[in-house]
């Protein structure tokens, strides 16, 4: 039987997604028995020219991790879309920009100024190094999720995708039972649905960060004032973070019926605050509680800013 051709590509990514593939433990042997890795820049040496030589739709599945930050990322996304039968957004960055998408709070010029200093020091797309021409891919103005550049067939969410989801995907691939186009390899319900912590829907009277308290083992982190993105986040990971006393940060993205994950969570937090005071006192107390969140975008949009309604910073004079 002909082996299944699998490609793995990283764009603007940290490499964690590539490593996460190994978390499927001994299942990797099944994968190796039935599939060939025809492209995997992290592990093997493949030239772009080899990739271009493949006929269109000749790679059965390409797992694409990382966001679109440079022209190279962009062009490879287009190329891989052509070469792959199925293109999979693998991990938060490909799905919605991920942590890398937070760079959208700064413009390209601001990023370059911080990194390199004055404009003459910025790297040029075309330059000459010791007599040799050097070409660097253009740095795009904004980080884009993969879905903004090409059609994506499946999503395996997570930062990095947890074992259960990756395993489920390979199982389906090896058995030739890939689901309908558009499927997300995670739960259709939110994280709270599978979190064993007990939720009492208590009013929050103070917001704390995880290191500031010793959270009670059995009760909901939100009830204890720790901002946990569970209500606005897709489950499927088995609530690994809440089980380790850490709040969900939203890496699996929103459930299907949520348009803006951050906005949904912002609503939830606003609804949960309650002081029991009245009048001006109440307003002041609420303002003080909410002032504890000193990075609203970084808290509610840690992984999905590039895919949110705002997409990133707007250029109005900061006030």
């Amino acid at each position: 039987m002909e082996k299944i051709k699998v490609g793995i590509y990283w764009a603007a990514s940290c490499g964690g997604c590539d490593v996460s593939l190994l978390e499927i433990d001994e299942q990797i042997l099944d994968v190796a028995a039935k599939a060939d890795f025809v492209l995997w820049p992290c592990a093997t040496d493949t030239k772009y020219s080899d990739l271009r030589a493949y006929p269109d739709r000749s790679i059965d599945v390409v797992l694409f991790n990382g966001a679109i930050r440079t022209r190279e990322n962009h062009d490879l996304a287009k190329l891989l879309r052509d070469k792959a039968k199925h293109l999979v957004a693998y991990g938060s960055c490909a799905q919605m920009g991920g942590v890398i998408g937070l760079a959208n709070l700064s413009s390209r010029n601001e990023i370059f100024t911080t990194l390199f200093g004055a404009e003459p020091l910025w790297p040029k797309e075309e330059s000459n190094q010791d007599g040799y021409p050097l070409h660097l891919p253009a740095f795009l103005e904004r980080v884009l999720p993969l879905v903004d550049v090409v059609d994506v067939d499946y999503v395996i969410p997570g930062c990095p995708p947890p074992r259960e989801m990756v395993s489920k995907f390979f199982e389906a691939l090896l058995e030739g039972k890939l689901p309908e186009i558009g499927a997300v390899f995670a739960s259709e319900k939110n994280l709270c649905d599978e979190c064993p912590r007990e939720r009492r829907e208590e009013r929050i009277t103070r917001i704390v960060r995880p290191h500031e308290i010793e959270p009670k083992q059995d009760s909901c982190l939100l009830d204890q004032g720790i901002i946990c993105m569970g209500p606005a986040t897709r489950g499927g990971c088995g609530a690994v973070c809440p089980l380790a006393n850490m709040p969900c940060t939203g890496c699996a993205g929103p459930t299907a019926n949520i348009t803006d994950q951050g906005a949904t969570m912002l609503n939830a937090i606003a609804s949960l605050i309650g002081t029991g005071l009245e009048g001006e006192e109440e307003l002041e107390a609420e303002e003080a509680i909410l002032a504890e969140i000193d990075d609203v975008i970084g808290t509610f949009y840690r992984f999905n800013l590039a895919a949110s309604i705002f997409k990133g910073a707007q250029r109005e004079q900061r006030s």
């Binding site: 709070l105 348009t259 803006d260 951050g262 906005a263 949904t264 912002l266 609503n267 937090i269 606003a270 609804s271 605050i273 009048g279 109440e282 307003l283 609420e286 303002e287 909410l290 969140i293 990075d295 609203v296 975008i297 509610f300 949110s308 309604i309 705002f310 990133g312 910073a313 707007q314 250029r315 109005e316 004079q317 900061r318 006030s319």
Partner: protein
């Protein structure tokens, strides 16, 4: 209708008005023949608590230069606590707007009861003047972005 001393910019302002108080206040302003700028696009909602953060963001995304939310006075909410939720939401939303570089003053929350036609007129007039002064929102078509 451009008036003298005008910068010629006519902002689009989306006004989410709660049906029990602020929308009725707007009606009162209307039947009392009070005049106010026609820049606002009133949207009747059942409660100011219905206005979720995503709706405000969507308004900006679709070109609003300012967003006004009108609700019942504290203690008067038809649904007991909707307006309190909105008040907390607006605090967070303003901070989010500031962080993405949109002037937080482009979002304004005002308590307007059904009997406060005059307050509705004054709020809309003042808010329109403020947004005119700011110029187009960076997310609108006329904005820089």
């Amino acid at each position: 209708m451009a008036k003298p001393n005008d910068n010629g910019f006519e902002p689009k302002i989306v006004a989410f008005l709660c049906r029990w108080c602020s929308y009725a206040g707007a009606d009162l302003a209307g039947v009392s023949r009070m005049t106010y700028p026609d820049n606002i696009i009133p949207m009747r909602v059942n409660c100011s608590g219905r206005v979720d953060a995503g709706m405000v963001m969507a308004a900006f995304e679709r070109g609003a230069d300012g967003v006004l939310i009108g609700g019942c006075h504290p203690g008067d909410c038809h649904y007991v606590s909707g307006n309190y939720k909105t008040r907390r939401r607006v605090i967070l939303l303003k901070q989010a707007l500031a962080e993405v570089g949109i002037k937080p003053q482009r979002l304004h929350l005002e308590w307007i009861s059904a009997s406060e036609g005059v307050k509705f007129q004054r709020t809309v007039t003042e808010f329109t003047r403020l947004i005119k002064g700011f110029g187009p929102s960076p997310m609108s078509e006329d904005g820089e972005n």
